[in-house]
């Protein structure tokens, strides 16, 4: 029997009522909201900007691989240092940062602009669960796109160089460890910046102002005193990168946090920001227009 036929034969008793609120129901609601967010929010042009951003470092490393001889004698350590500089200065500070602005900064704002946020608010769903669904959707998108970009950039960076040395570095040396660390940093950047811009989306009409403010704060981080460095995302992320790079002659030096501090610190900051988003969405009113 087709769905249409089943609907025609439907009587009020045919569909059981929703079960009482429980972890099972909340998990189902969360999964449905994430699926819906992915379906309506990240198709076609809406995801184009994120993909173009992610493609920038990949293109850069691809061109580098294309125009360098495979027999380039540059040693593997030097390649690792070049990748580390590009990763921290370009991928982390620009690509990941603005990717998260694009994705997370628009999760709420986009639906306020197209006046469709009320569809969620009219569902029998705890509002913090909706905030969590939006955050998870952003993570799915950014982790997929920027995770793939990180892996592609890493291999392209080494692909222009002596094959056997690179293979030894990756499979017998610390190469895979470095890649895992960079992937971990990418994931934590998405978690941290995602939480920042999700929260910002609840408090500001446009993501531009929080983006410029946070961008300034994160990029002046090297000038900040050690106490203030601790309330920036980049402080924890840099400490987790496998190859440290110089912060420049003007930098105010501070001990890089150990992974045991950096990871819980970043996760703690993320939880605080998600709590703020949950608090805000619980009190949010729909005010597209007045009647």
């Amino acid at each position: 029997m087709s769905v249409l036929e089943r609907a025609s034969a439907l009587d009020a008793a045919a569909v059981p009522p929703l079960p009482a609120p429980s972890w099972g129901l909340w998990r189902r609601q969360l999964a449905a909201a994430v699926r819906l967010e992915l379906k309506k929010g990240f198709r076609g042009r809406r995801v184009l900007g994120v993909v173009l951003l992610a493609a920038m470092p990949v293109t850069l490393f691809a061109l580098h691989a294309l125009f360098n001889s495979p027999d380039d004698p540059a040693n593997v350590g030097e390649v690792g240092w070049v990748f580390a500089r590009l990763y921290q200065a370009f991928i982390l500070r620009l690509v990941l940062f603005f990717g998260c602005v694009l994705v997370f900064g628009n999760l709420i704002r986009r639906e306020l602009l197209d006046r469709s946020l009320h569809f969620y608010f009219l569902s029998p769903v705890r509002r913090p669960l909706l905030a969590a669904a939006k955050y998870l959707t952003g993570l799915v998108v950014t982790l997929s796109v920027f995770g793939a970009a990180t892996i592609a950039s890493f291999f392209l960076a080494y692909s222009a160089h002596d094959g056997s040395a690179v293979r030894r570095f990756i499979f017998d040396g610390p190469g895979l460890g470095h890649l895992s660390a960079y992937l971990g940093v990418t994931a934590l950047a998405c978690l941290g910046y995602g939480a920042v811009f999700l929260a910002a989306g609840f408090f500001t009409k446009s993501p531009a102002l929080p983006a410029v403010t946070v961008f300034g704060w994160e990029n002046l981080h090297f000038l900040l005193p050690p106490a203030l460095k601790k309330i920036s995302v980049i402080h924890y992320l840099q400490g987790l990168c496998p190859v440290p790079i110089s912060q420049g002659p003007l930098a105010i030096l501070a001990d890089a946090p150990s992974p045991w501090v950096a990871v819980p610190g970043l996760l703690g900051l993320t939880l605080v920001l998600l709590g703020l988003s949950a608090w805000k969405i619980q009190r949010m009113e729909i005010l597209y227009t007045e009647d």
């Binding site: 769905v3 249409l4 089943r6 609907a7 025609s8 439907l10 009020a12 045919a14 569909v15 059981p16 009522p17 929703l18 079960p19 609120p21 129901l25 189902r28 609601q29 449905a32 909201a33 699926r35 819906l36 379906k39 309506k40 198709r43 076609g44 639906e111 197209d114 006046r115 469709s116 009320h118 569809f119 969620y120 608010f121 009219l122 569902s123 029998p124 769903v125 705890r126 509002r127 009190r283 009113e285 729909i286 005010l287 597209y288 007045e290 009647d291």
Partner: protein, 335 residues
């Protein structure tokens, strides 16, 4: 009696009576509710107890209809007062929206979805398993007559189709309370008639159907009770006739079709409660401050003078007349 008096004479929630709990669980209650947008008044000191059936919120643009509906649905929070819907409060949407379906006036939809996907996806967000969500979605789509267009993108729908899909979305989970903001806007006459029948069916099944409109002639046809709003205030509420009866200081107008209207007019005009008698296209329109005494007088004149009466009917018991008495001519309210 002033306009404010009309409102205060109507029943308000009986929070402290023996049957209060049972009454609360069957009604939509506004208890001294005010909503301000900064300095701007949305609604002020609203007391309402809306029973099952079709209730129309009537008023010009900016009168507070949508504010009232958004407060009912928890999309807005009252600045003061308390709202409850069948005993549920908007602060707990996970409970309340099992009971409420709301079709807002916003004509916007999430992009990229077909009509069927829109309904089924949000039912899944409610927590329904896929099969149940699809079955309920189809049932709602069929009920509003959109089955042929269910596979098309909502963005390509006409205004009338968008109204229908919003209605389907609001009623798909079989709510007990249906809140519909201007649901007949953009529908052709046939579709309006179909929707009106649907509203009546839903009300007959025991639902609360709350409808806002600024088109007055629709209200009489569809409403069991009305709430008249102006400038953020409820100026009257109840059944149309009941509201009309409350306005004792306003003369009632009666239309009489008879063979000798001039004679009848001259006799009736002698009575002190008759304030006006005029002939319009052969119909005698009499305005009286006391309808009961008027009908007694009419009977007497008919017997004494042998006037043949074809019809006698109230000429101003519709919501338009009531609205004009209470508020006067308002822009934005259409006949």
């Amino acid at each position: 009696m002033s306009v404010a008096d009309v409102t205060t004479t109507l029943p308000v929630p009986a929070a402290d009576t023996a049957g209060a709990a049972a009454a609360t669980s069957r009604r939509i209650l506004f208890d001294e509710v005010s909503k301000f947008y900064g300095e701007v008044l949305g609604i002020n000191r609203v007391n309402l107890a809306i029973p099952p059936g079709i209730t129309s919120l009537v008023g010009p643009n900016g009168s507070g209809k949508t504010t009232l509906m958004n407060l009912m649905a928890g999309l807005l929070r009252p600045t003061r007062g308390r709202v409850s819907v069948l005993g549920l409060v908007p602060e707990r949407p996970e409970e309340m929206f099992r009971t409420i379906g709301y079709a807002t006036q916003h004509d916007a939809f999430p992009p990229g979805l077909t009509g069927f996907e829109l309904i089924a996806s949000y039912l899944r967000v409610h927590g329904y398993p896929r099969a149940d969500a699809e079955t309920l979605a189809w049932a709602a789509i069929e009920r509003v007559g959109l089955a042929d267009a269910a596979g098309r993108k909502v963005a390509a729908y006409s205004k009338g189709m968008r109204q229908r899909i919003k209605l389907a979305q609001a009623m798909a989970h079989r709510p007990s309370v249906l809140i519909l903001d201007e649901p007949l806007n953009g529908l052709d006459p046939m579709a309006r008639a179909e929707m009106t029948v649907l509203f009546r069916e839903l009300a007959a099944a025991g639902l609360h159907v709350v409808v806002s409109t600024h088109i007055l002639h629709e209200v009489d046809r569809i409403s069991d009770q009305v709430v008249l709003l102006n400038g953020g205030y409820v100026v009257a509420e109840g059944e149309i006739e009941g509201v009309r009866d409350e306005m004792e200081e306003h003369p009632v107008q009666v239309a009489v079709l008879c063979d000798r209207p001039q004679l009848l007019a001259s006799r009736l005009f002698l009575a002190d409660h008759v304030v006006e008698a005029k002939l319009e296209r052969g119909v005698l329109l009499v305005r009286t401050r006391d309808a009961d005494r008027f009908y007694l007088l009419l009977n007497r004149v008919v017997l004494e003078e042998g006037v043949r009466i074809e019809s006698v009917a109230p000429a101003d018991s519709d919501v338009l007349a009531v609205y004009h008495y209470l508020i006067g001519g308002q822009e934005g309210v259409q006949r």
